[in-house]
């Protein structure tokens, strides 16, 4: 059995609202562990629009999304949150003592007194390209990421896309694959120019094939691919294909949280507006993923929600303890926690 990771509060999602929850919970001495499917904190702010300015963060007339994430990380640093990245939460179980056991897709086990779902639009997952019947081959011949390069050794590999993932794997898998065909809908690439130049050089040497076009059909039996049809400017062509790697970006899906037995409202989690608690006591939902009458999907609404949620969480974590409302400006005890006491 793997070691159990224990924390007061398990936060699902490390976007801006999940991060600020650490602050509000930390003021009440609760320890936090955040899990995110991305490889870094920031959620949509980091993944979708890091460079875009946000104009409705109070006190910041304009701040880039990544800038906001960086400052939140600085703000919560005194509370020493733990992070687990590249993981999706899969199951949740309520234990006899009222706490929760949460297991990730890589079988790490967490136990927490409180679970806070701050999962935004859901977990980022690879987008399935619009190729008819592709789902029949997924997991056997079609993969959305490369976990072990050996799985591609000796295969006729078709890689679809024009970003860094597509180009990097084209270059890295070329030595182990039997053949590599790169398919992209136009001759311009988003990927780093250096990788693109290398790819064109390899094509020149006939070490790989690059097709301008879109994959429109797959041929194979029992989940095992044999060929792919590519629709290009000069019509259809068929290339040998026993492994397909599409890189079509990410989309957001609620994922396994939908199976946790919480009430749902159009893929959102209804909460009350006093505690932002879900239909299961001890599980809270904050930020874009929750729903209540009048809900606005704004980062600033999420910040408000976590402040109220923290009060309710404290009552569960430390039952019977008196909760004193204090200001960070004047309370020396809060300032000690923040490491700024004089």
């Amino acid at each position: 059995m793997t070691d159990i990771i224990r924390t007061d509060v398990l936060i699902v999602g490390a976007g801006p609202v999940g991060l600020f929850a650490v602050f509000e919970l930390g003021l009440f001495d609760m320890t936090c562990h955040l899990i995110d499917i991305l490889d870094r904190p920031g959620g949509q702010c980091a993944e979708l629009y890091p460079e875009k300015p946000i104009y409705d963060i109070p006190g910041w007339p304009s701040i880039s999304a990544q800038g906001l994430v960086d400052r939140l990380l600085e703000q919560i640093a005194p509370f020493k949150p733990d992070f687990t990245f590249n993981r999706m939460v899969s199951s949740l179980e309520k234990l006899e003592d009222g706490s929760f056991r949460v297991i990730t897709d890589e079988n790490e086990v967490f136990e927490a007194k409180i679970v806070v779902i701050a999962a935004g639009g859901g977990s980022f997952q690879p987008k399935r390209p619009p190729i008819p019947g592709i789902e029949l081959y997924e997991g056997k011949s079609v993969f959305y990421s490369v976990r072990r390069m050996e799985e591609f050794r000796g295969h006729d590999l078709v890689i679809v896309g024009g970003g860094d993932s597509a180009l990097d794997w084209t270059l890295n898998l070329q030595p182990v694959a039997k053949s590599v065909t790169l398919v992209h809908r136009r001759p311009e690439f988003r990927a780093a120019p250096d990788s693109v130049n290398k790819m064109y050089a390899m094509q020149e040497m006939k070490e790989l094939n690059f097709h301008v076009g879109q994959v429109t059909g797959l041929t194979g039996t029992d989940g095992h691919l044999s060929a792919a049809t590519i629709k290009g400017p000069d019509g259809d062509s068929e290339v040998p294909c026993t492994r397909l790697l599409p890189f079509f970006g990410l989309t957001m899906k609620l994922g396994p949280i939908a199976e946790w037995g919480l009430n749902l409202h159009e893929n959102l989690i209804p909460v009350d507006t006093e505690k932002f608690q879900t239909s299961v006591p001890g599980i809270f939902a904050v930020g874009d993923i929750n729903w209540y009458p009048g809900k606005l999907k704004l980062i600033l609404s999420g910040f408000h929600e976590v402040a109220l949620m923290a009060q309710a969480a404290k009552r569960i974590v430390s039952p019977g303890e008196r909760i004193v409302f204090q200001y960070t400006t004047s309370s020396t005890s809060l300032q000690k926690k923040l490491g700024v006491a004089g």
């Binding site: 949509q44 979708l48 987008k127 809908r185 136009r186 988003r190 970006g249």
Partner: protein, 106 residues
């Protein structure tokens, strides 16, 4: 007000009055045009507000910029007249613009 027409995938026409300076995507969302998802809220970051610009309007609407082209890589069944509707700003010259919604977004 500038008139826009969205043609949903099932052929239904949505005629809407749009304010200059707003994006075509915003008008689709405001008028609940089916098939425009706009997952990212208009940041040119998701390719789920993909539309086909009617052939008569492609010249006036213009070509996508590099960032939009990059995003279009993720869209479904991209055609030469494909655009992301969050990147088309409504203006007087687009009065009467017709755009079609694809079968699906990604």
């Amino acid at each position: 007000m500038t008139k826009l027409t969205f043609i949903a995938h099932d052929g239904t026409h949505f005629d809407v009055d749009a304010e200059n300076g707003s994006t075509v995507m915003e008008n689709a969302i405001r008028n609940a045009v089916p098939g425009i998802e706009a997952e990212c809220g208009g940041a040119c970051a998701c390719a789920t507000c993909h539309v086909y610009v009617d052939e008569a309007w492609t010249a006036e609407v213009g070509e996508p910029e590099a960032m939009e082209e990059d995003m279009l890589d993720f869209a479904y069944d991209v055609q030469p007249n494909s655009r992301l509707s969050c990147q088309i700003k409504v203006r007087d010259a687009l009065d009467g613009l017709v755009v079609r919604v694809p079968a699906r977004q990604g």
